[in-house]
Amino acid sequence: MGLFILRRLGVMLLTALCLTFIVFFLTNLGPNLEKLAKTQGNNRMSDAEVVQWLENRGYTRPLVVRYGEWLGVAPGWTRVAADGTETGRCVDRGMTIETAPTFCGVLQGDLGFSTVSDNEVSAIVGGRLALTGWLMLIAFSVMVPAALIIGILAGMKEGSRTDRTLSTISIASTATPEYVSGVIFIILLASSTAGLSPWLAENGWIEGRTLFLGSSRSAMEDITFWNFTLPVLTIALYGMGYIARMTRASMAEVMTAQYIRTARLKGVSFRNIVLKHALRNALIAPFTVIMLQIPWLLTGVVIVETLFNYNGFGWTLVQAASNNDIELLLSISIVAVIVVLTTQLISDIGYVYLNPRIRIS
């Protein structure tokens, strides 16, 4: 078990290195740097000025060296201008080359500086991650129980009418991407001119003009039922179908097992068979699926945060990518990659741990 985890960790580290290098490579392509120079410096710079601007900021050196600097394994560049001012990767305002640290990269905890929001990257990412964490937490606490109940009910009696109805519902939910369900939810529940809200407001059954709020900007300070239901519902709906189908498949498989038949023949009631015998074994497979669903939901989070104007992690990703905010984008991709790889690791370990057949052998 220890060796297994160690090997997985090694592969994970290698993957993380490769992925961050790819992101580094793509964000540091020539045209991207030129765009950065023009947005940061002057929009009407000539080509020579652009090259000069990039050279002054250490962008013209080889890619691998700069990746090493960013990672914190190569010493940061330094430069003494003609007028004696000292600049460098690690040299902050008011420092000289001597007083500044030699290494400053991810390993030293320095994520860099966001050019667009004019702030330390670490300060931005932390707060945004917390906001998204709330969204994910609530979405998961709605999605997972609902999906498990649907899956178990459907898998209990394979081929029954309940099974067919619930399976079709879960297929429909996987077929509805967030940008479709979000738009439909807003029109149905949060529009002052269409859907249910005008009718409810006319009868005086709701206080405001709409049943729910179509924008979750206010949820960043204060999460309420009114402003947070729609984004949570939108995320939960798309993820739910997949987990439900996996649970159903796993449950249906368990229900055909020998020991279930034995229990049935012994005269155990159906309720007890489901709750005491089948459920525990049927929930192993959905556990891995639920863990793997987290990175899958990342795309959904980006869509939902954009659609509902919730300035979390996904929204920051969109901002960083569309403004070519290189350091911010790199940090975001590290976080995303770490989230993906950790969930994979947990799901692997969890699968081994939960499944006695693998754990003991």
Partner: protein, 505 residues
Amino acid sequence: MDPLTWSGSLGPFLNPLMLGCVLVFVAAFILNIVMSLIGMRQAEPIVNADHTISYRLGAPDYMLLAMKWAVFVFLGAIMIYILGGILQPSMEAKGIIGGVGAQFLPVWISLIVIYALSIRFKRRLGLYGKLFDNLIGMIGFGLVMFWVLTAIFAPMIATHGPIDVISGLRNDPPGTPVSGGPEDAFPYYLLGGDALGRDVFSRMVAGAREVLTIAPLATLFAFMVGITLGLPAGYLGSRLDTFITFIANMVLAFPVILLFYLLVTPEIIEAGVPVYMAAVLFVLPIGFLWVLLYSRFRAQPHIIKWVAIPLVLLLTLFYLGTVFRFDPIVWLATSFIGYLNQGNPVGEWMQTTRDSYEPLIGINIDGNLLIVFVSVVFVNSPTVYRIVRGLVLDIKTRDYVAAAQTRGEGPWYIMLWEILPNARGPLIVDFCLRIGYTTILLGTLGFFGLGVDPESPNWGSTINEGRRLLTVYPHPPLPPALALLTMVLGLNLLADGLREESLKD
């Protein structure tokens, strides 16, 4: 002219009927659940004395019957609406529902023909025919075919051009009469106008064509890439397997949306990344085809000579022309003639031709479209790879593979002609699912405005345009959203039906 009503002349009769159906359905559904909760059972078969079986229907059975009939009557009412739309002459009588139904006339006719023929001959049509034994599969197939036929007949169905602007109709509600457009234009905006004054209905129809050309093609390429890599990885194993699996897992660990944001930008296109990626991804299918033909017909040189080599050469030319905009024939010919005519005008003319020619074979794909296509293929192929690899690992232990090995067949023959045909069932099912997923991905790209022309009627970008004024004008984004939903749903149901029927074998 007055704006159209939703239901036209049939509305006063059919609307109450449909409302009644919905109420009956909901009431019966709730009653049914209550009854099952208090322990009432559905009728169980009773064996009579003369060995016949009969049922004594109880209250829950009547509830189920009521639900069934409510659905039938509801569907019947919708059909009458569509028929009314086709048969009634005036637009006022048709209403919006009837008008839209009438526009889809070619689709309805083709659907009826396809279904009639398929059900008539379903016993001779293999897996496709079996689909018509399965209600879910039939519904899914119907939804998919509806959009496929819409894409085929798009110019006949659309009432206006997808980018024709009539500025007086900005954000106008469905059924608004057209004024201020050209004389011979269709007299109504059936589903209203969008923020720029374009017809929502026509854009939805035109979007079907756009979505349905890119999505299946991209999925097909992803499959070819996944199969070309997955077969050797699964069959040969060892280092190759470890290496490709590592790469595949790496791509899978990349959050899709981040990859799209990094890849689909004008700067990346400027740097030529899509061309490199296309160069790698598109060469795999050609290699695949060559190995496929060579391993089978190695002993028949005339087939290799007259079919395999010309086909592969043609595809290579096509590949060079499409990806690199390079045509070796023109290049060689102009260089040669230019070399013979050094120093005279013909030589110079050849020189300029060589520098600025358009390849004879190959499609000029716009950089934006190429990057969208390549990224979608790139994102999809690792999953296909994993599925293929898993299937190969399973199938390679079978007896017929051992038999082929014993008679001395080469590894590629076994992979392509023994293993691949036997893996087709799960692959076909996954293909259907994956087209749906690709459609969702393309919609995501459109939703973020990545790599698509803002004028394009693509469903994703239309939803994106409409969402800014969503709470005030809900009608522009709703039709493309529902279109995307029904198409993906259709593909998922179709895949489910296919899976169920293929498992029955």
